[in-house]
């Protein structure tokens, strides 16, 4: 039921280690302990066996202290430790491979991340015709339509505007498909991995639009990508003039190709698809453009057969990331429950956590700074008594919106609506410590 311990973390005794890495691989880490077995007893037994055979444990001096390490500039662009090799994006467990990876997605490994920032190489992906390779010197942004002055910008010109940096989450509206019976094998990467959060640097779109002069009759803005899908979405002008960014950097470096290099739209709080990547064109119009992505896709079919359209905002949602699916609690005692909460309407106001399936709730501590339309890390100390437990979190945002239960969502709509699932996520802790998805 629990995910296998990844190869890189599996600890096999026997042959003598030949390299620093192999030696270290035999060491037990706290995380590998927690993930190592299908229960506390198993994990405990494993850890004891390893402790006995490890040659780098005290009182021995670790092997890696007995010779110099890798030289400076061994990796001009640094990489994570090889022992973190399984902390990567991947496809959703249990889903058949898509017909083509040109139009597919990959999931952020939320279970293994700390804080609120998603490393650039782990930001989730969703492309509709692959990731283009764009030469920034030949990239242009055209602003036209219902404007006084149609303008064209080079990347050098875009970056000359006054810039701002803001931390915002991006969530695909297809994130979390818990409409049906829960698959106990899913981890939080599977259930919530179409979610990431970065510091985005760019130009407030309002400044660029002011340069072109938006006409009074302009109510919508078409944003178009320079990818092979020429992705297009219609955005309300109010949003474009409010907090929209033309982003060219994430977490301090230029955008990754998968996130829209060299320029993307960033619409805080909106469904990810609307933040068009590889942005090449903005066209102002009086009406929405009714593109394929806002009619046949990214609309929610309701039980009455009518589809809800332009439902942009990702409403408040939260999820516990520790302990969560695939984890194993080694033994009864103290654990810190930790998770993420966010709202497309503003700041997280409070997060409550239950360990008894909703019979009682306790308020979690929120890690500062709590920012608008941004992931917020929450924590709650917990003493596990070794028995079965059902964990869940519930967020309330600053507008008073409360995250609904799955049952409440199902009352309003069902799997046919597909998008914007933000129900409360439950994780089941078995008596042995195994944690599984409970939907």
């Amino acid at each position: 039921m629990i995910q296998r311990v990844p190869e890189s973390r599996r600890l096999s005794g026997g042959s003598d280690p030949e390299s620093t890495g192999d030696a270290a691989a035999r060491r037990v880490t706290r995380r590998s302990l927690l993930e190592a077995g299908a229960g506390a007893a198993a994990a405990f037994a494993t850890s004891r066996a390893l402790a006995q055979e490890g040659s780098n444990l005290p009182p021995a001096v670790p092997e890696w202290q007995l010779h110099p390490g890798a030289e400076v500039l061994s990796a001009p662009y640094g990489q994570p430790s090889r022992f973190e090799a399984d902390v990567v994006r991947r496809y959703r467990h249990g889903l058949p491979e898509p017909p083509t990876r040109l139009s597919s997605f990959s999931l952020t490994p939320l279970r293994d991340l700390s804080g609120i920032i998603t490393p650039n190489g782990l930001h989730y992906e969703r492309h509709h015709a692959g990731t283009p390779t764009i030469n920034p010197l030949e990239h242009r942004l055209i602003v036209h339509g219902l404007v006084e002055r149609p303008l064209i910008f080079t990347m050098e010109e875009v970056t000359r505007f006054p810039s701002v940096s803001r931390v915002h989450f991006l969530e695909c509206s297809g994130n979390t498909q818990n409409w049906g019976a829960p698959n106990p094998e899913l981890t939080v990467q599977d259930t919530h991995g179409l979610l990431s959060c970065c510091e985005w640097t760019g130009v407030p779109l309002a400044a660029v639009l002011a340069e072109a002069g938006v006409k009074a009759e302009a109510k919508w803005m078409l944003a178009e990508g320079a990818d092979a899908a020429a992705m297009t979405r219609s955005i309300p002008v109010e949003k474009a003039l409010d907090d929209a960014l033309l982003a060219y950097a994430q977490n301090g470096e230029r955008l990754r190709p998968e996130q829209g290099y060299p320029l993307r739209l960033l619409l805080p709080g909106y469904e990810g698809n609307a933040s068009v990547k590889w942005l090449r064109r903005l066209k102002l119009g009086a009406e929405p453009f009714e593109t394929r992505e806002e009619t046949s896709k990214y609309t929610e079919l309701m039980p009455d057969g009518v589809a809800r359209q332009f439902n942009f905002v990702m409403h408040a949602k939260s999820v516990i990331t520790f302990p969560s699916g695939g984890h194993g609690l080694a033994s009864p005692g103290f654990y810190q429950i930790s998770g993420l909460a966010w709202s497309g309407l503003g700041k997280v106001a409070r997060v409550e956590v239950t360990t008894d399936g909703g019979a009682s709730w306790r308020e979690a501590a929120l890690q500062e700074p709590v920012m608008s339309k941004c992931l917020t890390r929450f924590r709650l100390p917990w003493r596990w008594d070794g028995g079965p437990a059902l964990l869940a979190s519930r967020v309330t945002d600053e507008t008073g919106y409360v995250q609904p239960t799955r049952e409440e969502l199902l009352e309003a709509r069902d799997a046919r609506s597909y998008y914007h699932y933000n129900g409360i996520q439950n994780w089941r802790v078995a008596a042995g410590g195994a944690v599984t998805n409970a939907g």
């Binding site: 017909p99 083509t100 040109l102 139009s103 509709h128 015709a129 055209i142 602003v143 036209h144 149609p150 303008l151 064209i152 910008f153 010109e157 000359r160 505007f161 400044a207 002011a210 340069e211 178009e224 092979a228 899908a229 020429a230 297009t232 309300p236 109010e238 949003k239 090449r280 064109r281 119009g285 009406e287 929405p288 009714e290 593109t291 394929r292 009619t295 046949s296 609309t299 079919l301 039980p303 009455d304 057969g305 009518v306 589809a307 809800r308 359209q309 332009f310 439902n311 942009f312 905002v313 409403h315 309407l345 919106y401 609904p404 409440e408 969502l409 309003a412 709509r413 046919r416 933000n422």
Partner: protein, 184 residues
């Protein structure tokens, strides 16, 4: 005394800043240059429900059938019945079923969206390779497969914009975002 010195320093600083090229709020930055009509025309490929943006050209169902067989059927099935990619035809009247069939015919509210999407993104391996006439023809064929236009239909900008899709009234807008009445 100290206040007065501070104030004087501030005034001097402001004067110096203005002299050094301070930017007044609301003043244009003067960044970028006018986009030429030719530059815009090369990228301005969207088509709206009103028909705005549809290019000159025309295409008929029969021509669309052969283009579809050559360039679309491998992904969408010989008659648009899908697999491995999206089903394009059929499913009309299934949107209230437990398993709705969302196709161009059953779900898409505007025929112009079909043209727009094929023109910009299809076929997957060679987007923007079809001529406007070929896009009209393929659109005509997909609409014919759905029983929306007859077999002898010829589509151009005018005719395409007049096509009324079965699910034209099947959408309700949630925009602009209703902060006050957030729904699950």
């Amino acid at each position: 005394m100290r206040d007065r010195v501070g104030r004087r320093r501030l005034m001097l600083a402001v004067a110096a800043a203005l002299a050094a090229g301070a930017v007044r709020a609301g003043e244009p930055y003067g960044i970028g240059r006018p986009a030429t009509p030719e530059e815009i025309a090369g990228w301005d490929i969207d088509a709206s429900p009103t028909g705005a943006g549809l290019p000159p050209g025309r295409g008929e169902v029969r021509e669309g059938e052969s283009i579809f067989a050559a360039k679309c059927a491998a992904c969408h099935g010989a008659h648009g019945d899908g697999k491995p990619m999206d089903r394009l035809a059929g499913g009309i009247g299934t949107l209230r079923d437990k398993k709705p069939e969302k196709t161009v015919g059953s779900f898409w509210p505007y025929a112009t969206t079909l043209f727009d999407y094929v023109r910009r993104a299809m076929p997957l391996n060679a987007p923007q390779s079809l001529t406007p006439g070929e896009v009209y023809a393929v659109s005509a064929y997909v609409l014919f497969l759905n029983g929306i236009v007859p077999e002898d239909a010829v589509l151009d900008a005018d005719a395409l914009a007049k096509v009324r899709m079965p699910n034209r009234e099947g959408f309700v807008s949630a925009a602009p975002p209703p902060e006050a009445e957030a729904k699950p």
